[in-house]
């Protein structure tokens, strides 16, 4: 059924994007930070509009797009991320470029792309939304075109991204060849009924799809672009890459793997487990040696992706109930991770706007010069490390608990050891902030009120999710309850 009303929130977002670009076209001298606040407002309206779709599980556009609670969850998360990133960009971009409207328009469009990645129930739709997101990000990463690092990052991202897309397409076509469909539920049926002689094609197809989405979430060995893109991109876009892009990747993975591919879990789960193990270990070990803060965060977020992939492996090993629990906790952890990352970047942007430093050593003596920022950074880093009071402790604990089963205890153990390793490099950042005195001549400074409020609110969010995760947990459960209920009942294929 062609129900065009399902996308009203996205009309708002995309329409505002066009409106903002037009605004600068007609009034070239418009204040650039005003554009940022308009974007934040538009994203807010988008989030409010999507509240009306909560609880609606039947919204379905031609079998291609499903607007259930899962979609609503990512709509809200996307809107929230765009609000924060727009606020972070206001001063940063005003100081650095003359043309800013496309930047803000693309932020909103990336948000829409994320929603469609979360709601797609058909491979080509999923692919197109994935590409939409990628193209927005290619431009955003290279937005500071006079900055060589930014251009280099963008180029690297485009070249590798093109490869990843090609992998994904190739994988899609192999799966289509075997199941004769691109719809998730028909793929499930087709995979259940296929003959044993198609094993090789299916495995290759799965691996190629895994490579495509693995690139998006920067899982090892598809992570090569991430540190360079993170380092070169404008600081708010680094935040955008490590939150929205990863969340969108996991939204697509969850929808695809729980409905279509879970039938043939035997053929891919080992690969996901290995990728998860390698991703977290490599990410955390390499992070230890970094001197640039952005690269450190890049590798630390690669480590985080490794933890989240444990859940995908658990979905492959468990039945529907385990899968649903694991998906719920993944969304919970994703929420905590997104809030912590945004809090961290809000503080870093405030610091960068003031001092222009983005190395670890550059944070020296921050607890003297700006104790508030030091507290926010501490809260987010401790949240990543999984220490109590902060989001990471509870969300990680529940996520790993839901993923434990007889076959995966080793992987969960490895994940715990990894989060122990990660504490070391977070402490190295803390050391600069708290144990050393600031450089000569640096005195206490103030930060802009917008960023102060943003980071304070996000830090409260980190503490709230960490000490009282119940509301986020229940929201995540509501979001995942439809994941396993669409399409034909899923029974694991007996090879």
């Amino acid at each position: 059924m062609r129900d065009y009303t399902l996308f009203i929130p996205e009309y708002i977002a995309a329409g505002s994007a066009a409106g903002i670009i037009a605004a600068e076209l007609f009034w070239p001298n418009i204040r650039k930070d005003l554009l940022a606040y308009l974007t934040a407002l538009a994203a807010l309206a988008w989030g409010v509009a999507s509240l009306f779709y909560l609880g609606d599980t039947t919204g379905n556009f031609q079998g291609l797009i499903q607007t259930d609670n899962f979609t609503a969850f990512f709509r809200l998360m996307g809107a929230g991320i765009v609000v924060v990133v727009a606020l972070l960009s206001a001063q940063y971009l005003r100081d650095r470029t003359k043309v800013a409207a496309e930047y803000y328009g693309l932020l909103l469009l990336s948000g829409c792309a994320m929603v469609f990645m979360a709601s797609a129930r058909e491979l080509i739709t999923a692919y197109i939304s994935l590409e939409l997101l990628s193209f927005c990000l290619y431009v955003l990463v290279g937005y500071l075109k006079r900055d060589n690092l930014s251009s280099e990052a963008s180029l690297k991202y485009i070249l590798l991204g093109a490869f990843a897309s090609a992998f994904f397409l190739y994988g899609m076509s192999l799966i289509y060849g075997i199941t004769h469909s691109t719809y998730y539920d028909e793929i499930a049926t087709g995979l259940g009924a296929r003959g044993a002689d198609t094993n090789q094609a299916v495995v290759v197809g799965f691996m190629l799809i895994l490579a495509g989405v693995g690139f998006k979430v920067s899982a090892v060995p598809f992570q090569w672009w991430a540190p360079d893109a993170y380092e070169g991109a404008p600081l708010p876009i680094t935040a955008f890459l490590s939150t929205l892009s990863k969340a969108a990747g996991f939204a697509l993975i969850l929808r695809l793997f729980t409905s279509a591919m879970v039938v043939d879990a035997v053929e891919w789960r080992w690969a996901v487990a290995i990728i998860a193990a390698v991703t977290m270990t490599l990410g955390n070990l390499v992070a230890i040696q970094q001197t640039s803060l952005k690269r450190l965060i890049a590798y630390s977020s690669i480590g985080q992706v490794g933890y989240m992939l444990v859940v995908i492996a658990a979905i492959g090993w468990g039945d529907a109930e385990v899968g649903r629990n694991a998906s719920t906790t993944l969304l919970l952890h994703l929420t905590g991770y997104v809030v912590s990352t945004l809090a961290l970047f809000a503080a870093l942007t405030a610091y960068y706007n003031r001092t222009g430093k983005d190395t670890i050593v550059g944070l020296r003596g921050l607890s003297e010069t700006q104790p508030f920022l030091a507290v926010v950074i501490t809260a987010s880093l401790f949240s990543f490390a999984g220490l109590p009071f902060f989001a990471g402790f509870s969300t990680k604990l529940f996520m790993f608990q839901a993923s434990v089963n007889g076959d995966l205890l080793w992987l969960v153990g490895l994940a715990v050891l990894n989060s122990f390793i990660s504490l070391y490099y977070y402490l190295m950042v803390m050391r600069q902030m708290y144990l050393y005195d600031p450089e000569e001549g640096l005195t206490r400074f103030r930060i802009s009120p917008v960023l102060w409020v943003t980071s304070a609110a996000l830090m409260l969010g980190v503490v709230f999710i960490g000490s009282y995760p119940s509301p986020a947990f229940h929201a995540a459960e509501r979001a995942t309850e439809t994941l396993y209920e669409q399409g034909p009942p899923i029974e694991a294929r007996v090879p």
């Binding site: 629990n325 719920t328 607890s367 220490l387 509870s394 604990l397 790993f400 122990f420 708290y434 009282y468």
Partner: protein
């Protein structure tokens, strides 16, 4: 929120006092040091009073079970794999934790008093200090595995900064080593928790429910034997289990006085407490299987720590190694798995807590004036600081186990328990006690007596606050040494109910 039994609110108030103090301190301007000090001392006094109340209000043999003053506040339930009471803020005290809560009240109060003179970033210090105290209280009170671990980790978090910012000798190294080793231990506990909750399959983190599961075989005996070491080694790091004790001397050497006091006095006991809560109470079959190993490690720690202390010249290193030695006794007491031995272990936790706090307090009082802690630099201090010498001597003699002081009571129980089960270990432990006497008396002779180095002629006697907090600790040491019945009856009330602990 439901109160299973009256007075649960006292427990909640005790837990919230340091938490509230911490949040209030955030809003005190950093320049107003006096306000921070008064607030800290006030909160410390309240915690002290509440802890005494909890200890005295605990009724031996009264109430419906040995766990009293319970409170249950549903936190997360009926979501994903969590069922009813999935995670609840379940607080309460049993005989063991009532004793340790008292210990924490005493040491934390003494710690706030002794930090009065701290002048560098006073407010930040107290914020982190109260975070540490919250973590310790929470661990003692929690009857829910999630919150137990939450508070256990919370107690470790602030140490890096407390030692790194306010510490002394090699502070960065000490802080990093300590934090990484303790969190590494937590990683093992974390894995153990995942395995246990999965194996029990009850959809709840409630500890009494899990203890019942360990008793009735829901946690398979083979499973218990496999995962018991995760908890014991994980918690053992904090309890200075040999050979994972190496953070302890370095950490204590670097830490500021009040942190050393709370850390050696209370925090190390969290490790032993964890072995009781998660090891012995939750996995009786595993405990039964692994206890000989724990006994060997405990004895080794006791002898090794005493031997190492014999060779040190730094006051704090001597006390650091002496702590390793005394925590070795605690582990031995636990490993006996008989009532008198385990009771002795808990007594030793209390006794060592107060006397080590006293020792570190005295060292701090000297170091603040002398700025050196090398034994060889001193001599004849009895002439200039007689009160300091008396206080230190009492602490040292309690360490040695002089009858009439707390150390004797505790060690006597442990040795009796050990001789019943492992006579050889008991003999070695008495050898370690003899070594303790040797290093203590050596220190006394070098520092207190002999010719006075003119460099120290101008040393002043302890300040009033130091005397007050020292006096508080000495009172506890003497009280337990002379009249231990209130302690033993409370501890034994719970210990006798632990499955696997024989008469």
């Amino acid at each position: 929120m439901t109160f299973d039994e009256g007075q649960g609110y006292v427990v909640l108030a005790t837990l919230c006092t340091p938490l509230l103090a911490m949040f209030t301190l955030f809003f005190v301007p950093g320049t107003n040091k006096m306000a921070a000090r008064y607030l800290a001392a006030f909160a410390g006094a309240i915690m002290f009073a509440l802890s005494i109340y909890i200890f005295t209000a605990y009724q031996v043999g009264g109430g419906s079970s040995d766990i009293q003053m319970q409170l249950r506040w549903t936190w997360i339930e009926n979501v994903a794999f969590l069922g009813k009471d999935g995670v609840s803020l379940h607080l309460g005290v049993d005989g063991i934790s009532a004793t340790l809560v008292l210990l924490n009240g005493i040491v934390a109060f003494a710690g706030t008093l002794i930090s009065w003179k701290l002048d560098y970033r006073t407010k930040d210090f107290f914020i982190l200090f109260f975070m540490l105290v919250t973590g310790v209280y929470g661990t003692f009170f929690s009857l829910d595995l999630f919150f137990w671990f939450f508070f256990y980790e919370l107690a470790v978090v602030p140490l890096y900064m407390l030692i790194g910012i306010w510490g002394s000798t090699r502070k960065e190294y000490g802080a990093l080593k300590l934090t990484l080793m303790l969190v590494g231990g937590s990683a093992l506990i974390w894995i153990g928790i995942f395995a246990t909750i999965h194996e029990a399959g009850l959809g709840t983190f409630d500890l009494p429910t899990l203890w019942a599961a360990g008793r009735d075989g829901t946690l398979d005996p083979t499973f218990q034997k496999t995962f018991f070491p995760f908890f014991v080694v994980g918690c053992g790091v904090l309890a200075a289990l040999w050979p994972l004790h190496t953070w302890s001397p370095d950490g204590h050497m670097s830490a500021p006085t009040a942190v050393s006091m709370v850390h050696a006095g209370v925090l190390m006991k969290l490790g032993a407490f964890g072995i009781i809560r998660l090891g012995i109470q939750m996995m009786p079959d595993g405990a039964d299987y692994w206890m000989p190993v724990l006994m060997v490690l405990g004895v080794t720690g006791a002898v090794y720590g005493a031997t190492a202390a014999l060779t040190q010249r730094d006051f704090k290193l001597i006390s650091g190694y002496s702590s390793v030695s005394h925590m070795g006794y605690v582990l031995m007491g636990l490993a006996t798995l008989n009532t008198i031995g385990v009771t002795g272990a808990v007594l030793q936790m209390f006794s060592h807590g107060v006397m080590t706090a006293l020792v570190f307090l005295m060292i701090g009082a000297l170091y603040d004036q002398a700025h050196t802690r090398d034994l060889k630099d001193f001599g004849g201090l009895a002439k200039v600081m007689p009160i300091w010498v008396i206080f230190y001597a009492i602490a040292g003699l309690a360490n040695v186990g002089l009858p009439g002081l707390s150390g004797f009571t505790a060690e006597f129980h442990i040795f009796v328990g050990t001789f019943r089960t492992y006579p050889l270990a008991g003999a070695l432990a008495i050898f370690a006690a003899a070594l303790t006497a040797t290093y203590m008396l050596r220190m006394f002779s070098v520092v207190f007596f002999g010719p006075l180095n003119p460099r120290w002629a101008s040393l002043k006697e302890m300040t009033l606050l130091e005397r007050a907090s020292g006096g508080l600790l000495i009172a506890s040491v003497v009280a337990m040494g002379l009249y231990w019945a209130p302690f033993t009856e409370r501890i034994a009330a719970t210990v006798t109910l632990i499955p696997g602990v024989t008469g």
